[in-house]
């Protein structure tokens, strides 16, 4: 046979192989490309949802109340689906269609979480003309689930609800007597009830707080007061307008009948209450071991393998140290609670999804992702079932939120200096010219409107510092408690530590709590 013929035969064999190989590889490339682009789109949509929640929550004076929170979350869910439609070039597709691919959206909050997924409505008695009837399949927010566990040792039978920081709620019976207590667990508190120290740092026993405020008067005009004295009680700020105290609801000013004291000692109360609560917990629940924790409904043990005393200071760890027994246990409970409920929700999704859609499965979350969830308010979104060439897309994304009024995290306290700037607490460039410390959301833009004009304002006029707020080049990444303790004990910047711990206490004390009795709280500040 001639060489030419050999070559031709070779080509005849090789050409189809190479063509098929080419298209196969290209298909694979497309699939992977699609997968990564879907991941990105999902992250973007989830971020949009989070931003919507953040904006609504910051601009609402009632964002911490349950029904208002539900409204903010519903709005955020809508944003998520709108953003999905836009990102996926599915404009015009409505929520109902996209929902088929989203088995669950999870909003983790301060002491529990919401799952947005389908459920069967149970309505024993319906009014005439009710929107939903019994047995309807509804895609919506399911009831709030707390991060709680039950402990039953015979003498003690309580449910403890954990939160993103060391605030716990204890409900149940001890020795047959009913208890319902909540508070912060803190070691390292010293001093007396009138002069507290935390980690050796003295806490300011009284302070006067000021910020700028804008509001709508009852006649519809817009009003503003600069450097207005205020106090924050149970999540509500009360402002002092030359002796007339008022609060703001939905941007509108409501004058209060009685007045408050100008100086407030919320920080001192925080440390006093925490001291008392921690001793109470040690006295009454000190013997609780981690294996005592069981699921509140099924009674299954939560931590099988390890056993340690939850509230002890083993290994020389204070209760608030990130690696203390308490925090290990808290993390385990939160993780268990989310994992369990979420996998149920996703597994149940198959009962609601169309017959042709694939079997939904709960993806395994990585350890560093749990870290994000456990330390901050976050949105976890899942998307499954979209065809991407060779396979079916199955992705999830977690976006965390640091600016909110739900939780006062250790790094949510910003420091103001007299040169009209605000800084992160661990900014190494911070001088000794400390003017005060506030919660990070107080530096965000707020809106007030009377229907015709919309005005924007910042409660604090200080500008973000370039080394820790705008750019974050000089921020020490360390344990803030230790950092402040060191700043005080070495006399490097005593004011910084004092202001920081005072602000932390004050802001935590002023947060809205479901268990607080508003009347009692308000009385403390008269």
């Amino acid at each position: 046979m001639k060489y030419q013929s050999l070559a031709v035969i070779f080509i005849i064999i090789i050409l189809p192989i190479s063509m098929i190989l080419t298209s196969y590889v290209q298909n694979q490339v497309k699939t992977l490309e699609l997968q990564t682009s879907y991941d990105t789109k999902l992250t973007n949509a989830t971020y949009d949802a989070l931003k919507a929640y953040q904006l609504n929550a910051i601009n609402s004076s009632t964002s911490d109340l349950a029904n208002s929170k539900l409204r903010d979350i519903e709005a955020s869910v809508n944003t998520f689906f709108n953003s999905m439609a836009t990102h996926f070039n599915m404009d015009g597709y409505n929520k109902e269609i996209l929902q088929e691919y989203v088995p669950a959206l999870v909003y983790t909050m301060y002491d529990g979480f919401y799952i947005y997924s389908p459920f069967t409505n149970t309505l024993e008695e319906a009014d005439e003309g009710a929107t939903y009837s019994n047995g309807d399949e509804i895609y919506g927010l399911k009831p709030y689930i707390f991060y709680s566990a039950r402990y039953n040792t015979g003498i003690i039978d309580v449910v403890i609800t954990y939160s993103l920081d060391n605030y716990i709620t204890v409900q149940g019976t001890i020795n047959g007597a009913p208890v319902n207590k909540s508070g912060y667990l803190l070691d390292n508190i010293g001093g007396t009830t009138t002069a507290r120290t935390y980690r050796g740092v003295p806490i300011k026993s009284s302070e006067v707080l000021v910020e700028d405020v804008r509001y709508t008067n009852s006649d519809g005009t817009l009003g503003s007061i600069n450097d207005c004295t205020y106090i924050k009680v149970n999540g509500v700020k009360y402002y002092n307008d030359n002796g007339t105290w008022f609060s703001i609801l939905n941007g509108e000013r409501y004058n209060q009948g009685s007045s408050f004291s100008e100086t407030n000692s919320a920080a001192l109360m925080y440390y006093n209450d925490s001291y008392e609560f921690t001793s109470w917990v040690r006295d009454n629940l000190g013997g609780l071991m981690s294996h005592d924790a069981v699921d509140t409904i099924t009674g299954e043990r939560i931590e099988e393998t390890v056993d340690y005393n939850i509230f002890s200071t083993d290994r020389n760890k204070s209760i608030e140290d990130t690696d203390s027994n308490f925090n290990e246990h808290r993390r385990a409970i939160i993780k268990y609670s989310i994992q369990k409920n979420l996998s149920i929700a996703i597994a149940n999704y198959n009962n609601y999804a169309n017959a042709e859609s694939p079997n939904f499965q709960m993806p395994e979350l990585k350890e560093d992702e749990w870290d994000k969830i456990i330390n901050n308010i976050s949105i976890i979104s899942f998307m499954q079932g979209l065809s991407i060439g060779g396979k079916i897309y199955n992705g999830y994304t977690i976006v965390t939120n640091t600016d909110n009024e739900e939780v006062v995290a250790l790094d949510s306290i910003y420091i103001r200096t007299t040169d009209n700037q605000y800084h992160k607490a661990t900014d190494t460039d911070i001088g000794t010219n400390i003017a005060g410390a506030n919660l990070n959301v107080d530096f965000e833009r707020k809106t007030v409107t009377n229907g015709q004009t919309t005005q924007y304002y910042y409660p604090h006029e200080e500008l973000g510092c370039y080394s820790s707020i705008v750019g974050q080049t000089k921020v020490e990444v360390t344990d803030i408690n230790d950092y402040m303790e060191e700043k005080y004990s070495s006399a490097q910047n005593r004011n910084l530590a004092i202001e920081y711990f005072t602000a932390l206490g004050r802001e935590r004390y002023g947060m809205y709590r479901t268990n607080n009795n508003p009347d009692v709280e308000v009385e403390k500040f008269r």
Binding site: Y3, A7, F10, I14, L32, T426, Y458, V470
Partner: protein, 179 residues
């Protein structure tokens, strides 16, 4: 005589067809696979930085290692646009009915490298905040086998020709600094 010439030509032709052609298609596939690797690695790297808000030497090295595993050399350009809300804040303070414009200032590759290169044996982190924009652009700098072969047969040579390229960018969703 004429026969010999034709035989020689035939052998050369057959050689080209039997060796060079498969080589070209295979090297093209290699490039495709490299492209895929680079694209995936870039997206993963950028998304990791975006969702954690942190860029470290460790992450960067891992990324460079990932893309180098394709056997090519790459030029990696990073860009971080840092959101500065202060000018906007000033506008709002002067005129409450207006939202001022947000301004971004940009850090490029060399500045980013400067801020993550370990100093005095200490690893350093470039922390980004929510609202910043991070982007990465990757191009190959060597001539891959498929490029060489193509250049040999039909000249497409030039300094800026690259066959493997990937870029990805996005808004940072978490505050990187802090605990």
């Amino acid at each position: 005589m004429g026969d010999t010439l034709i035989t020689v030509i035939a052998i050369i032709l057959a050689a080209i067809l039997m060796f060079v052609f498969p080589l070209m298609t295979m090297s093209d596939r290699t490039d495709d696979v490299s492209q895929l690797t680079v694209e995936t690695a870039t997206t993963e790297f950028v998304d990791d930085v975006r969702t954690t808000g942190k860029l470290t030497m460790d992450k960067y090295s891992r990324f460079v290692e990932d893309i180098s595993s394709t056997g090519n050399t790459y030029d990696v350009e990073m860009e971080a646009q840092i959101l500065d809300e202060n000018p906007g804040k000033k506008t709002t303070q002067a005129e409450p009915t207006k939202i001022g414009e947000n301004v971004y200032y940009t850090m490029y590759t060399s500045q980013i490298m400067d801020s993550i290169n370990p100093e005095n044996g200490q690893t350093r982190t470039l922390a980004l905040k929510e609202g910043d924009i991070f982007s990465v652009n990757v191009k190959n700098t060597n001539t891959t086998l498929s490029q060489q072969l193509k250049n040999f047969f039909y000249s497409v040579t030039g300094n800026d020709t690259y066959t493997i390229a990937a870029e990805h960018a996005g808004i940072v969703t978490a505050n990187g600094a802090g605990n």
